[in-house]
Symmetry: D2
């Protein structure tokens, strides 16, 4: 693959050397499941990071993290409001239907895959308050959004206030939480706003197989522990997952990696001009590019996904080569 | 932990150096999910091992492997026959109820946690053939059993014949499949008999986070792929799981590790004499030991689980220190 | 209620005298569940009606009938294509999510709540053939549609051909099947086209508590029997449900009742002129009427539902008083 | 069937004339679903009967009533303690697995199919308090039990106290609640003890298709309403079900019918002497009878179920002919 310059997906990025080190060091611990010290320390670690009490558990995928949180927030006969282009709706193979025992995803609109109180109101206000129609029990938002856009502290406050007023839970899919935090200046607290639960993504950001599920409601955390086991997600050797998460937080590696990825995306965006379909605030670039143009870029060794028939998606990751990113930006500019 | 001699659980064993090497080497692959070459090669690898066509997928836990197999073998309104002390019934937090959408575990008896056609007949023959009673759709057996006992080739043939005659699927929980194979002389084929699916355990045997789910029915394999994603078990960076499984098979590391564990268990068993509650055929030893005796052993640094009020369970693993095992055997003998 | 002229819902209509007679006569049968002769004869009865072999079972609600059919046609990880305004999506309280174990409703468009091969193609062709996206397993259509419109024999043939070509099951929600059949000239066979299963509605058409679920695939029928019991829908005294269905078919009471209802709806439609939002082909009339106009109608004793802010829905039933219907038509015309 | 003397099942009994009258009278109501006055009055009716506030809903089967109650009392990852011979375990086709989304039935022992605090303790005390084992969330008992035995007020108080102490919900399957109440002197309150919910059976006792689900916790009642709809159990013409329940309560028809059935059972029991396998306290008689003896009884026109190989079950119902019952008692005595 020596000539390929990959901007296909941050899912395929390498594991960061510090993550490897931390995993190797975990060999010496010896309690099974989550009985080890590293797993036990996650609660305190994230309570520090967010400045409020929380519980934190490792799971192997963002899908599991999101669904475990939602399943303990929503009754099977209820519904979850999400953006109509949200990952849970589009790309999780029906996982919410499975974990939530058939609860309904209720699809709202919004610019750049971001929900607002107004787009949610348009969806749920017409629902009759009777048993014939599914009632919303929670909202899930994605930070950064599926189009690489970031909810500001103000937008989060408005959503949180709305959710509380309506008695709805509020979950955040943070598969690219670090990239959002990097954009917002590095405060985990500001980036999460007043959510009830958060899937704190590590895998796209240089970990191997661990996401942190952060729960700000201790009762929910207790339920999630049972549900994680029941879903086959309580791994025998959990210390290796906990180690990845600790390493990600140590010395703010999570922010450093995200800044690298965001920086590479900015380099690409620099060459896109009017082609940009969404503001580039994290590590993803969506650009108008026709089939001919995409072919030309691929001929130069750039790898990426088509986005429909007239656009492309470029995703930078912590290990993107800066020269590749600026080369891509220039190549697009030169089309 | 320098003074502790751990025989608590093979779940807590270290990751084998060759597994680490293989994972590190996988850094250089770059396709997300299971799109990488290592994942793709698993089918061929296990088809070779078992001498018949099969598909093989990685998953992170035995619970997931077992439940994904059973969920695609059993209708939600059906049932799965398992031993009344089987891991799926006792220790998986209700995972079968979740993955199988409420299908029923139907509990049969049998010596040393092993099912026989006769114990299954006693359970299912009285079931009326009507819609008021749950009908069995499949059988699951554990190789080696929860009491460390191994199904012989003849016993497996009888079960397979019985299952076919009754139109029942046959799954094998092989969390300690390698230990069983080591006992039977090393043939994977003989150890699996005519099962339809097998959870080929790696984690207790020196891997970190990968089990192989082996499916001998290609239609079932197709379903399992959808269900794995839906259960949040399709990891982004699957190449690191595939690498563990390949390393386990390379040069028969799986058998070497299992032989080491079985050997350590045999050393312990040597000291147990009449105390043994079950034949020691794999890496587990169940021995009659009263509270006073257990305390005496713990005072010498041995770590293990109580098994009820009058017995103890000792589990050896690939990294058990041989001297510790023989010391434990002698200590029991000297009680 | 002497002064009210009810056009609110056919759900609230009286039970027809012949249905009462048939139920009373069933007192003399004596087998529990569906072991009685009346229940057993349903298969033959509907095989005659449709001119092809089928199985037929009673259930108490259309929701149960639709969901039992779909649950045995669709894997939990799959999806069902329905119209975005279909009853299963809008008004069944999430029942499909429950019965189908979290399978997804996939929403397509179409005039007057009727699907076409083209509207389905627009929905499902962009779905990638991978495990990340939910794949369609079946289609459900409503005959007559939620807007009182009828699929013609030609439209049904096109849908059936499309479904077969794509390997999708085809179910028909026939809550108002009789009204559709009356519109099409009375042939049950033509009205059902080539569907795999049909909820043959009786309750809106003068029965008390029995719908017939008709299954043209014998294997599916066998599964449905288990699922009906499992859903708590196998009533102890099923003979009283079977009796209602038989009475509905005797002497084509089903068609006579539907013709009466359709006739009343036509009378109402006569007065609507340009106000009509959909062709009136069955027993429902949707008409543009502002709040002031609706108030005027209610002041004259007519009862009906608002349909959004600018329209009303009138539903006629077998026991609608013809004079009330023509009075309503005239009242609308006079607005 | 003129010569048959049926003691097969109270499930097949005729509908009582007063039930028919009440249903016919409901023709004149006109609100769909449970919007009618009869349905609305059930709460007050049962609050009177039990002397404490409750909500009451109609459903068509005992299976649905039990499962809706339990599903709103138990998390999907939890379990329900029931007797190992309870109807929910043996004869509901896996309905609890469906309604409770895979929660586990946990089987306890007890004489004559009655649970006691002690038999429950034996079952649940050994369960480790961790996520690997399913934890009990509720208990369900059957009044009268599956062997026709009645929980006394004292036994109920002990169970209720135990449930509260352990934080477990307590549900009562009252398929034959009336027969139990008749045995205990007629007090509904004493017969229900301190349960949280009760399936108040009507169908075996002369109704056609309505059981009352009585909920003493208003929050649970709210959930049940959503779940009833979602399970396809909210019938369009609910007034006909509500009417049956009102008629059953009017003038204590429920007690009169139960007394008739219990009386007939007592006549049968009179002839059984040492053959009785369980005390006869309600309307069921279980008697030791070999195949030859059963054949002799059948030759005299008595109809009943074999109970295993060496016994028979006789069930009397409200419409059992007293002469038939005493004839059966004499015939058994004369064997």
């Amino acid at each position: 693959m020596s000539d390929t310059k990959p901007f296909l997906s941050d899912n395929a990025a390498k594991v960061h050397p510090k993550i490897w080190e931390a995993m190797r060091a975990a060999d010496n611990a010896d309690a099974p499941y989550d009985g080890d010290a590293l797993s036990a320390e996650l609660d305190a670690r994230f309570s520090d990071l967010f400045g409020r009490e929380c519980a934190a558990l490792w799971v192997a995928t963002g899908t599991a993290a999101n669904c475990l949180a939602l399943a303990t927030m929503v009754q099977p006969h209820g519904g979850v409001v999400c953006h109509e282009e949200a990952h849970v709706e589009m790309d999780e193979g029906g996982a919410p239907g499975f974990f939530l025992h058939g609860a309904k995803l209720m699809l709202a609109g919004g610019e750049s895959a971001k929900l607002t109180p107004e787009t949610i109101r348009v969806l749920i206000d017409p629902i009759r308050d009777d048993v014939h129609q599914v009632q919303a029990h929670a909202i899930t938002i994605t930070q950064a959004s599926e189009y690489g856009c970031v909810y500001s502290a103000g937008e989060l406050a408005a959503l949180s206030e709305f959710a509380k007023a309506r008695g709805l839970g509020l979950h955040m899919d943070g598969a690219r939480f670090a990239n959002a935090a990097a954009h917002l200046g590095g405060s985990a607290k500001d980036t999460a706003g007043g959510v009830d639960s958060l899937a704190f993504g590590c895998i796209k950001n240089g970990a191997m197989s661990a996401e942190a599920l952060v729960l700000f409601d201790p009762e929910q955390a207790d339920l999630v522990k049972y549900r994680r086991k029941r879903a086959g997600h309580l791994q025998c050797k959990g210390r290796y997952l906990a180690a990845q998460i600790h390493a990600m937080l140590d010395g703010d590696l999570w922010l450093a990696n995200a800044r690298a990825a965001n920086g590479a995306a900015a380099e690409i965006a620099n060459g896109c001009g009017d082609r940009l379909l969404h503001p580039v605030q994290a590590n993803e670039v969506f650009a108008k590019l026709n089939a001919h143009e995409r072919e030309a870029l691929r001929a130069q060794g750039f790898d990426f996904y088509d986005w429909g028939t007239d656009a492309a998606r470029f995703v930078a990751s912590w290990d993107s080569v800066p020269e590749d990113a600026s080369a891509l930006g220039k190549a697009i500019s030169a089309l």
